[in-house]
Subunit: 421 residues, 2 copies
């Protein structure tokens, strides 16, 4: 890493400015700096502003120059909902669904999440890690610099701890930042199925053994639950999140994806960092989110991939004043994409968010949901130099040219982690 | 170009086999060859089959080896509907639409196609060509080896002829094959608007002057019309297509995109090579397509980008026995994507086509719609060596991993035109 770095020649530097997350009309208020430059020192942004001014400063620091020639610079994307570590694709289920089977039917036949659980338990740590490394490179190629990663395909003590440990190892050995979430309450594993007593025993294992061990070893920052008729009830979900919170794991929750369960109101009540999915929100949920500090993280890739025509009510959420975030939900069953530009396209064309709103949702608001908004999520003096440069003339072309990745360069803590040749 | 080339190590070689286009149940009957190899000689496929057999043959020909290490080989995509040459993106209209303006409202305010006409007329040939060259490289990066390209942003004699000439020049100077279509009847240009007499005069210019000049100079193979309430009526469209046909230009037609106009039945009656769009098909249209040799070319990118939830009835068409094709409709207003993998994802998730059906629709059936099915569109002995290699373990993962381009290598006439580093 060079000590001082000057990023110059950008046609646009696009970022939010100022403190905290963005709500309502403020979500679309991004700053577009034309003919600007950025000075990076020791991995941090030490100046951003008009080229002439920043270049003069750079000269005095003898900065190395990175010419981005007419391209657009954004804060690196923060992907706040991924299931990074899994053992295999589920393309065969994809085909079954196209032929008419529903997601829940496939799950009942041992497909779905349990399919991933079986394969993950059978895989070696090296296999899982190698696969995840490949995905992390692809995340970087698409402009993402920080990802949240959930466990939840292990569902026994050994496998869950192993996945969370792999998050930690991967975070240390490659440039992208990985924020770890424990999702032992993804579904009930096969060996505990069939009786309500079995489910109770699994939840006891989860709360009494997994959570304490994870907390003690610092293996996760967050605890998540899939609250849905096919997974965990509202009261079970509450119990898990409270157990996590008692050990210092902040709550996140999979809420109202396939039906309205009341998970959103419960999440807010517990001070969840984020409620995710939200396709089946009720007006009262929207109002409650608007009054809360909980981020409404929308995952349109999931609806798209499942061929569902019902998306989360993004406009209602924004207009009511909720903190809207966007994430890929990268996972092998319901959203096998790690492209945040693709998610921006979905947000714009399907959720009717403007390009500016989508960018703020995928950067500063996502960073806020991970408790990192003071350090990442915008291009401002003092922040970490996490940026993505796109081969377009205007930031609106990033979602506009859908399905095509225009990311040209990605930088994490001032280090170039991807450069298109 | 090496005289002999051996492509080996593929985990799957995926292609249709046999003559002619694919209808009904035959659309999903693709051959998946595991552990196969392909021998290319002088730009043609001279053998395809089990590795051991083809490799022995290759040894005797002293073939140069191209190792594709566990990847999937497909025929190069044939994109049978693009508006390749245009002067600028229309990302600003994209934002207006997201904010609530309809496509037709924007068109009435001088946006839409007329916006592109204004900019194209003002651009130099070198500007247009440079931009198109960049797009052609991107097509190759996404596995496409042949594209159809339409005029229709010129709408005066000089500009239309200029664009068609540029198609010819670009076809000659770079490896991808460009099939030229005259679309003078895209909309009525501004200078002829306002009166029905003006429209009549434009159509006269088009039929009496443009078509004869284009035919005489061999500048197009096809003649296309946008038959829609905001463009040309059924009888006007019929007249244009007949004028083109009389001069040797085969008909194609933009049909039933925003409403049902009867364009499909008329196109079939005139022996059109393809009816494109088809969102508003009636059951009688579906039956007629099923009995005809006209390809039903579906353009789901357009519906996606416009945020319309109505897609063409792909399953009905396939089940009835129509020849279904897929294309990007690459254009700056309604479908700014040139990624055929993205179109496959849309076909699978939104049109409920299986991955196998989508691949056949985007290769052999598209080739058939361009009159080239004997030469391209499949990996069979004697055909042109047009292929795309994907960084996946199974062909179904190409549409599955949506929004991410897994194309690793593209070959046109046995020449490597793209290789990911």
């Amino acid at each position: 890493m060079s000590n001082s770095l000057l990023i110059s020649g950008a046609s646009q530097i696009v970022t939010v400015r100022g403190r905290g997350p963005r709500r309502g009309a403020a979500l679309s208020k991004i700053a577009v700096l034309h003919d600007g430059a950025i000075l990076v020192r020791n991995g941090l942004i030490s100046a951003v502003g008009p080229s002439a001014k920043v270049e003069k400063l750079a000269d005095s620091k003898k900065a190395e120059k990175v010419e981005v020639g007419g391209r657009v610079v954004l804060p690196g994307f923060v992907d706040a909902h991924t299931h990074l570590i899994h053992a295999a694709s589920r393309a065969e289920e994809y085909e079954l669904r196209i032929r008419g089977a529903s997601y829940e039917e496939i799950a009942r036949q041992g497909g779905g999440i349990l399919n991933s659980v079986k394969k993950l338990r059978a895989a070696t740590a090296e296999e899982l890690k190698g696969r995840a490394r490949g995905f992390l490179e692809q995340f970087a190629e698409h402009g993402t610099t920080t990802i949240e990663a959930k466990s939840g395909y292990g569902l026994d003590v050994t496998s869950e701890l192993r996945v969370l440990s792999l998050h930690k190892e991967l975070d240390a050995e490659q440039p992208l930042e990985i924020v770890s979430t424990f999702l032992g309450a993804h579904v009930v594993p096969l060996e505990y199925r069939g009786t309500s007593e079995g489910k109770r025993q699994y939840l006891e294992l989860l709360e009494k053994r997994m959570i304490p061990e994870i907390a003690q070893n610092g293996l996760a920052e967050f605890c998540d639950v899939f609250c849905e008729r096919s997974a965990f009830s509202l009261s079970e979900s509450r119990s898990v999140l409270k157990a996590g919170k008692a050990r210092g794991l902040s709550p996140r929750i999979h809420a109202e994806q396939l039906s309205n369960t009341g998970a959103t109101l419960m999440g807010i009540e517990l001070g969840a960092a984020s409620c995710d999915h939200l396709e089946y929100l009720k007006p009262a949920d929207v109002r409650a989110l608007a009054k809360s500090k909980t981020v409404a993280t929308l995952l349109p890739g999931c609806d798209f991939h499942l061929g569902l025509r019902r998306y989360a009510p993004a406009r209602e959420l924004i207009d009511a004043g909720a903190i809207v975030g966007l994430a890929t939900d990268f996972n092998p069953g319901t959203s096998p994409t790690l492209s945040m530009p693709m998610i921006l396209s979905l947000a714009c064309t399907q959720l009717r968010m403007t390009p500016a709103e989508a960018i703020a949702a995928a950067t500063i608001n996502a960073a806020y949901s991970l408790g990192r908004e003071k350090r990442i999520g915008s291009i401002e003096t003092g922040k970490q130099a996490d940026m993505a440069v796109f081969e377009v003339a205007d930031y609106r072309e990033i979602p506009y040219y859908f399905g095509v990745n225009h990311c040209w360069m990605t930088m994490k803590r001032g280090e170039m982690v991807y450069l298109r040749d």
